[in-house]
């Protein structure tokens, strides 16, 4: 029997952005009926590879073959024509249009003169929904739907293409357990039809449940490939994070924990409630400890910590900072009480991308550099230099615009902005998302240092490995409620996992 031909083959794919090598010489193959996982930490190059395969970007070097023939690169319409479709991680829908139109985005079936054939469109959509057991209101406006439903629209959009190859980028991030099951059933159905699937995910449980093979990436390179049956979880994690961090992780796991730190309560939250978002959240945050709040995406941790910073308001409950009751109407007030906040999306909410490192580092403390009406630029530059050096930000050039920095260094600038103020309380929301493994370790070091200096650190993190590595205490939030609060050295990871998953089911 002749060898079946690969559906998709990426050969020697390399992508360079200026100084940054996002992808180096990557080979990637998907056979008919194969479900191949693509695994790696953030910054490993997975997204870049996916974008090349869907035509969203063109590689600097390398080729892509679809069904044995070289395909034009960097052109999404060509890839769509060759029946490669993708469920993207970020919203790729037209928000003001209906679900029905979004499912057929750019390809609505037409009759004469380019008129959209509404009847056919609806029939095909209904058949599609039925086949995959998904329930959607075809006429609803997408922007009015909850994120979970929007994700389902994205999935239907990709499936409507009747593709030969489907890439799914973190498809289950927003889904509840029952929907994940449905998605996996769909994956198996497609597999049986000979469709090739690329399953990009952090959730190793899912990978082991539904994938046949896996490709592991790190630092822009393909590190290993394996059949799922031939490898185990520890080895995968080991390959993902590399020797250095794996060892450090283990070392860190044995580090002394400091639950409740120095015993001084910096922040006291009692019964914080925001209607429809979170309810009755109560906890104390101590100086000299790192408290990690973990949970599923959608557990409203970001919404909660934003109210601690004055970026949003809660409806009822009390907040005390160092013994004083406070209400923060604006971030400025929280800052004056010694609180710093590193937001989840550093590009959207955290950094001024076109401004220099020095300027970004000084952004939260312009007042300190001000004498009368004048902004003391020299002092600002000096403070920036000290921060860059103390945080080992690369390259050590304060005049460089931050958009040219790598994700890890950008995050360090963002954290550094607050460290400059010697915060009493430091809140970080998903601080290591999208940054490379080395920078992650450095950020952990920074957090530990702040803790030693007596700050109270609150970290929101969905990365359980990260939580187990840095936390002194762990809080588990589920659907807006603080379900549990543990001392880190008194609980095991699988217990946390169970708590997160249990309450959601």
């Amino acid at each position: 029997m002749p060898d079946p031909q690969p559906l998709v083959r990426g050969i020697g794919l390399t992508k360079v952005y200026g100084n940054l090598v996002a992808l180096k010489d990557a080979d990637f193959t998907v056979m008919p009926g194969e479900v191949r996982a693509l695994i790696g930490s953030n910054g490993a190059g997975k997204s870049t590879l996916v974008k090349i395969l869907t035509g969203a970007i063109a590689p600097t070097l390398g080729t892509v073959e679809i069904a044995g023939k070289a395909a034009p690169l960097g052109d999404p319409s060509e890839m769509i024509r060759r029946r490669v479709s993708c469920i993207y991680q970020h919203s790729n829908l037209a928000p003001a249009m209906s679900v029905l139109d979004n499912i057929f985005l750019g390809r609505q079936p037409t009759g004469k003169f380019g008129f959209v054939d509404r009847g056919r469109q609806r029939r095909e959509a209904l058949a599609l929904l039925e086949r995959h057991g998904i329930d959607l209101d075809l006429d609803a406006t997408v922007s009015n739907l909850p994120t979970v439903k929007q994700k389902e629209v994205e999935i239907m959009k990709a499936l409507a293409l009747d593709a030969q190859v489907i890439l799914m980028d973190e498809p289950t991030g927003w889904l509840a357990a029952s929907e994940v099951t449905k998605l996996h059933a769909t994956v198996r159905m497609l597999k049986a039809r000979g469709v090739g699937i690329v399953y990009i995910s952090h959730m190793l449980d899912e990978v082991f449940a539904v994938c046949d093979t896996m490709t592991i990436m790190r630092d822009g390179k393909v590190i290993a490939e394996s059949a799922v049956a031939d490898i185990d979880r520890p080895r995968v994690v080991h390959l993902m994070v590399g020797e250095k961090l794996a060892r450090e992780s283990e070392r860190a796991a044995h580090q002394k924990r400091h639950p409740r730190g120095t015993g001084e309560i910096r922040l006291r939250a009692r019964n914080l409630t925001k209607r429809g978002v979170f309810q009755g959240v109560s906890f104390d945050l101590y100086a000299g400890e790192i408290l990690c709040l973990t949970g599923l995406i959608g557990s409203k941790r970001t919404e909660l910590v934003r109210t601690l910073f004055g970026a949003d308001r809660f409806d009822s409950g009390t907040l005390e900072v160092e013994g004083q009751p406070v209400t923060f109407g604006t971030p400025a007030r929280a800052i004056s009480h010694g609180i710093g906040f590193v937001p989840e999306d550093r590009h959207r909410d955290g950094l001024m991308l076109d401004m220099t490192m020095t300027e970004n580092l000084a952004m939260a403390m312009l007042d300190r550099f001000r004498r009368g009406l004048i902004l003391g630029r020299n002092r600002m530059v000096e403070a920036g230099r000290r921060a860059i050096s103390s945080l080992s930000i690369q390259p050590p050039d304060g005049t460089r615009p931050v958009k040219l920095l790598s994700g890890g260094n950008q995050q360090k600038v963002l954290v550094g902005k607050w460290l400059n103020r010697s915060p009493r309380i430091l809140i970080l929301d998903e601080p290591t998302v999208g940054i490379d493994v080395g920078a992650k370790a450095e950020i952990y070091g920074i957090l530990r240092r702040e803790r030693e200096l007596g700050a109270a650190v609150l970290v929101v993190s969905s990365d359980l490995d990260e939580v187990m590595t840095v936390a002194d205490r762990i809080g588990v939030m589920v659907s807006g409620r603080l379900a549990a609060l543990h001392d880190a050295d008194a609980v095991r990871m699988d217990e946390i996992v169970r708590e997160i998953g249990e309450a959601a089911a």
Partner: protein, 340 residues
């Protein structure tokens, strides 16, 4: 097809405005006045409909007034200087408008200029071009020569619909200008295109989420250039109507009209953020502005106050739109909360 609350509010407001002025302004609810409304603002409506397209793709076109000027002067030159027959001039004029608009699209897509800047530049360039090609400068005598070509002048024709329908025995009907029917045809065609064709879907997609459109394989270049070409095309129609009315054209034709067109489109609910709105709103918006201006004039309100009121209406329209958007967001957040 669901009717947006903003559109319903607009129609209600328009009706209320008509009612208000019918009661408070002498001679407002007369055939003559409605005739003035149609003949004076149908071409504004057409320009507004054209302007809606660049705004729908999240851009803007500041040059439509200048395109009106250019096309007007082209028509003037072709008929009075070169004596080209009218039935040739009409398609040429439309083509010139579409090309001028397409150039805007080209600057925006290929030179990656911001729409504000690109159309600001063509505003200057096209106005300059109008002066350059001006037959009025070349042959001074022409400034007093009226255009007589029946194909052009024929645009300024009025139809006694009331008489045809036999209704004028009971009520004095206004005579309907041809420009009103032209406006209806333009509206019908473009509204259908936008709501019922794939091109329309692509337009909304590009305006609503450019990256999603690109990744879905939509030819965003073609969509954007088409949007600006349509704006230019509508500007050409506007120019033809105006030239027919004045039986001449000047270098200043169309000056400032882009602001009116933008105002009418925004009042009509076309969102500056792109992806929201249809042709219906700009038409109503244009006639709303027209009704207000005519009504205030009949009330003896000085023209200067009218300007102020126009500005206030624009602010109110945008403010209301934003209020609706905020309310939508709040309702959504609450309903999502209830779902969890």
């Amino acid at each position: 097809m669901t009717i947006r609350p903003a559109t319903a509010a607009l129609v209600l407001f328009f009706a209320a405005t008509l009612a208000f002025f019918s009661l408070s302004a002498p001679h407002f609810a007369t055939a003559t006045n409605f005739e003035n409304l149609m003949s004076g603002f149908s071409f504004v409506a057409i320009l507004a409909v054209g302007e809606a397209f660049p705004i729908l793709v999240r851009g803007i076109d500041l040059s439509v007034g200048a395109i009106v000027g250019v096309v007007g002067m082209v028509v003037f030159d072709l008929t009075l200087v070169l004596h080209v027959p009218g039935y040739v001039i009409l398609p040429v004029a439309l083509a010139v408008g579409a090309l001028a608009g397409a150039l805007n699209g080209v600057l925006i897509v290929f030179l990656r200029l911001q729409p504000f800047i690109a159309t600001l530049s063509t505003l200057a360039a096209y106005r300059g071009l109008t002066y350059s090609i001006s037959g009025r400068q070349l042959v001074p005598g022409l400034t007093t020569t009226p255009i007589r070509d029946p194909w052009i002048v024929g645009i300024e024709t009025y139809f006694d619909i009331g008489g045809w329908l036999g209704v004028s025995k009971f009520v004095t009907m206004p005579w309907f200008p041809l420009s009103f029917f032209i406006m209806l045809v333009v509206f019908a065609i473009l509204q259908t295109a936008v709501l019922a064709t794939r091109f329309g879907r692509d337009l909304y997609t590009v305006g609503g989420n450019y990256e999603a459109a690109r990744l879905a394989g939509i030819n965003t270049t073609r969509v954007i250039i088409s949007a600006y070409a349509i704006a230019g095309f509508c500007a050409a129609i506007t120019a033809l109507i105006m030239v027919a009315r004045f039986t001449t054209s000047t270098e200043a034709l169309g000056t400032g009209m882009e602001l009116t067109a933008i105002a009418a489109a925004v009042i009509g609910g076309v969102s500056l953020a792109g992806g929201i709105g249809s042709m219906f709103g700009p038409v109503v918006g244009a006639f709303l502005l027209g009704a207000v201006l005519l009504g205030l004039t009949l009330q003896g309100v000085p023209q200067f106050v009218q300007q102020i009121i126009t500005g206030v209406i624009l602010l109110a329209a945008v403010g209301y739109d934003r209020l609706l958007a905020l309310r939508r967001q709040r309702r959504l957040a609450l309903s999502l909360a209830e779902a969890t």
